[in-house]
């Protein structure tokens, strides 16, 4: 499915007017824009936990005072960490957009949350496994064991749509509430749907985003089933891709307020950037298919781009085939008249699946509004340095398993933004 500015002159412009970001690098738009605007020659030092989940390094969440966004202790108690990260970050985005507590606006705000599975109680799972496996494998008892062990756990914290539910309860976003599932493609599809709804006039104000808690072994297990994790000393995305590949999870919350330009102007909201187009598709990942998908999407999307410097915030995970095909696609951009200034932001924040593309859009919007670009994040040679911040940034999403997509953000000059 493709839709971009070229489709119709009547389409509404889609602006990013609020950013909520939370990761190992810090909290909020300002902390992240400081982290990404290192002086020339300096690089961002990733924050890592290499002990607790060894052999898997993860990017742990910065310390957070949840009570500043989630005021009722009762609400906080009902959430596992991934819901706290998401609910907190959604609050940051709403506050950043000047919408926190604006009940009239929140009442018609549409929400899409890209969510994974809720987290399990690892201690409980361990206990049940011990009591029901090996010499203890007595099926007659498993009902009793499950009943007693499950009792104190938070079932509602495990339902995917309950992150959205908590955002409604804590922040009063109630216009509509939908939860997309499916790893990276859920993040991509939610942004695409928000873009389509706003540009077609079906909505004028949306909250989208996702959250990932990397610091949990049940989530590591899901991705290690297919041996997708990097289980060695930390390396950047492009370095890992050269050495067999693997992903490093990061705890990340990323939410955006997307708004029609008219709606933003009417309430005097200041935009970070314009979301100018988005495209997506899927394939079975036979060799070359992902690259072909990206090539044809780019040919469509680039119709509205200016040739020359193009910022590229790559959501690459580091898994071997997906990352190699994305690199091959990026390598072909010169031939199409574009100089890609590529940054794999996962090298500094880790991979966050459903939240990965929302986080990429947030970083791109920050870079465009500040007129500052991210310094190269490794010395692989993929990431060329630049003196001049790009005015258009493409965010890529090539899922570690499925889904390929591109989004284009452009800077708004002060005239347009008024």
């Amino acid at each position: 499915m493709k839709r971009n500015d070229a489709m119709s002159k009547e389409n509404a412009d889609v602006w990013i007017t609020g950013i909520g970001l939370l990761s190992s690098l810090g909290e909020g738009a300002d902390a992240h824009s400081t982290a990404i605007s290192g002086k020339s020659g300096s690089t961002v030092t990733p924050k890592l936990d290499e002990q607790n989940y060894a052999p898997y390094p993860v990017h742990p969440l910065v310390e957070v005072d949840y009570a500043s966004q989630i005021k009722k202790r009762g609400d906080l108690r009902q959430m596992e960490p991934w819901q706290r990260i998401g609910t907190y970050t959604a609050g940051l985005a709403l506050a950043d957009a000047g919408l926190a507590g604006d009940l009239e606006a929140l009442d018609h705000m549409d929400m899409i949350v890209a969510a994974g599975s809720g987290e399990r109680d690892a201690a409980m799972d361990q206990k049940v496994l011990e009591k029901t496996s090996g010499d203890n494998a007595n099926k007659g008892h498993s009902n009793e064991i499950l009943k007693s062990e499950l009792r104190p756990t938070l079932f509602l914290a495990q339902l995917s749509n309950l992150l959205a539910g908590n955002i409604s309860i804590v922040h009063k976003v109630t216009g509509s509430s939908r939860t997309y599932m499916g790893e990276e493609l859920a993040g991509l599809a939610s942004i695409e749907n928000a873009y389509n709804r706003i540009s077609s006039g079906q909505s004028d104000l949306m909250l989208i985003g996702g959250a990932n808690n990397a610091e949990r072994k049940d989530s590591l297990l899901i991705f290690e089933l297919g041996q997708n994790l990097w289980g060695d000393e930390f390396k950047s995305i492009w370095e890992r891709a050269e050495q067999g590949g693997g992903l490093v999870q990061g705890s990340v919350g990323a939410f955006l307020v997307l708004e029609s330009a008219d709606h933003a102007k009417a309430r005097g909201a200041k935009p970070y950037a314009k979301l100018s187009g988005i495209s997506s598709d899927r394939c079975r990942r036979d060799e070359g298919q992902a690259k072909d998908n990206l090539d044809s999407q780019f040919d469509e999307l680039s119709k509205t781009m200016e040739q020359g410097n193009l910022g590229v915030l790559s959501g690459a995970s580091g898994t071997s085939q997906a990352t190699a095909e994305e690199l091959a696609f990026l390598g072909g951009l010169e031939g199409k008249g574009f100089t890609p200034l590529t940054r794999a932001y996962g090298s500094m924040m880790g991979h966050s699946f459903e939240a990965q593309m929302p986080a990429g859009l947030a970083l791109a919007a920050l870079a465009l509004s500040k007129g500052q670009y991210i310094e190269p994040l490794d010395s692989s040679g993929v990431e060329a340095s630049t003196d001049k911040a790009p005015e258009q940034i493409m965010v890529t999403s090539v899922g570690h398993w499925r889904g390929e997509g591109l989004a284009l953000l452009t800077s708004l000059d002060s005239k347009e933004a008024k």
Binding site: S177, K217, D218, R282
Partner: protein
């Protein structure tokens, strides 16, 4: 102007040209409709696993499809395939494996289940490792691609997208027990935008396993009236005590009226409008004033360009929990006024149980069949009227002939999810 290609707001009219359904009553529209209008129940004692020591021992399982070994995603895929194949064949659209539109899929959240955890745990020879460390070590030793394909969130959607050749990203969604309604809503919105001429909207749920049953039981959401199983669901009755978990799937092929006419398709019904409003009151309870539900219902009817008096039948969410049925009827009365006293409202769930993520889609098929056949399926086990619901016409215990041209179907879920969809017999 009659039979306009656009609606009261100038948007594409959206029609239904194919339907498919699986429930505990059987496979396909015909078998389901025969049993549903004969007031038969699909609720049985659970045979899939031992229910010894559990408070609830009944469910509406789909045990007649060839799924071995059982897992929630494997059964969800099998039921979704059955429903989608039936719907696409009826719509006679596209070519085999080449459906000309996107997939919107309501599917339960996926996670490893106990048999898989035990398998991984048992594989690892280093028994000094505990719990997840032992399972992770087993994964480092050998790849478990098959398991990964089944238990990633995108798995059911990917499988269907591959098989039917739907276009673009398959969207897998969850709005809990409103998911089926949301899948249809997303299809309607995409066609109204002009993004596509057609969409495949599927809801599926095959999660009757031990842990899910225990979880819902611990929330006190389930009926414990295990004997006889078919009498457990008592929607709108005073003695209702909770829902019965059930499995099922349904599929609608949606098309713009314009595109369906151009290819000479047989039109089965219309989606006139959708409404939604989230509840910010509580994770599992409804705002005491019912406003989010009332607004959802009102938005759907307004979106459809209709008035409450135009609605001839309410296909209720009707879960048989004390809270839902009271709040649903209260909200319908607020939205419809006195007209609600003479508008029939029945619960398909009284016979098929609560198909959770699939419910909104399953009940969409039955709403459309109600109009096609001129027969309203009953609310069974309606024997003790609830004085709080006064003059409710719950179509008690026996199907009723009626000329219905518009139906509202409600779906409400945990997490404050509310969706209502208005279906019509033919384009206006």
């Amino acid at each position: 102007m009659t039979n306009s290609l656009t609606d009261h707001l100038g948007r594409h009219v959206v029609v239904v040209t194919g339907m498919g359904v699986v429930t505990s009553l059987g496979q396909g529209q015909q078998d389901n409709w025969r049993d549903l209008t004969a007031a038969k129940s699909g609720i049985r004692h659970i045979s899939r696993f031992s229910t010894e020591g559990l408070r609830t021992t009944i469910a509406g399982c789909v045990d007649f499809l060839d799924v071995d070994p059982y897992s929630a995603p494997a059964l969800s895929i099998a039921m979704a395939e059955s429903a989608a194949s039936e719907a696409i064949e009826q719509a006679d659209i596209g070519r085999k494996g080449d459906f000309p539109g996107p997939l919107f899929l309501a599917t339960p959240p996926t996670e490893l289940e106990w048999p898989q955890r035990r398998e991984l745990y048992g594989e690892e020879s280093d028994t000094s490792l505990e719990g997840y460390d032992r399972m992770l070590s087993a994964c480092r030793t050998s790849k478990h691609d098959e398991m990964q394909r089944l238990f990633q969130f995108a798995s059911v959607g990917e499988h269907l997208a591959d098989k039917y050749g739907t276009k673009g990203l398959p969207v897998s969604l969850s709005t809990a027990c409103a998911s089926g309604g949301t899948a249809i809503q997303l299809g309607v919105e995409a066609i109204r935008r002009g993004d596509t001429d057609t969409a495949l909207c599927v809801g599926t749920d095959g999660t009757v396993n031990l842990e899910a049953l225990v979880r819902f039981s611990l929330l006190s959401a389930l009926s414990t009236r295990n004997n006889p199983p078919e009498a457990a669901m008592a929607s709108f009755s005073k003695d209702r005590d909770g829902f019965v978990m059930a499995e099922g799937a349904a599929c609608l092929v949606l098309e713009s009226y314009e595109a369906s006419k151009a290819r000479g398709a047989n039109i089965l019904g219309v989606v006139h409008g959708c409404g939604e409003h989230a509840d910010d009151f509580h994770r599992t309870r409804t705002s005491p004033d019912g406003m989010p539900m009332i607004r959802t219902i009102t938005k759907a009817i307004t979106d459809a360009g209709l008035k409450p008096a135009d609605i001839g039948y309410v296909n209720a969410h009707g879960t048989s929990t004390p809270e839902n049925d009271k709040m649903e009827y209260f909200s319908m009365k607020q939205a419809f006024g006195e007209g609600m006293e003479t508008t029939p409202i029945s619960s398909n769930k009284s016979m098929i149980g609560h198909t959770l993520s699939a419910a909104g889609a399953v009940e969409a098929v039955f709403s459309l069949m109600t109009m096609q056949s001129g027969l309203i399926p009953p609310t069974i086990n309606y024997n003790t009227p609830d004085p709080d619901m006064g003059t409710i016409d719950a179509v008690p215990n026996k199907a009723r002939e009626a000329d219905v041209s518009a139906v509202i179907s409600n779906s409400f879920g945990f997490g404050g999810q509310n969706v209502s969809v208005v279906y019509g017999r033919e384009p206006k």
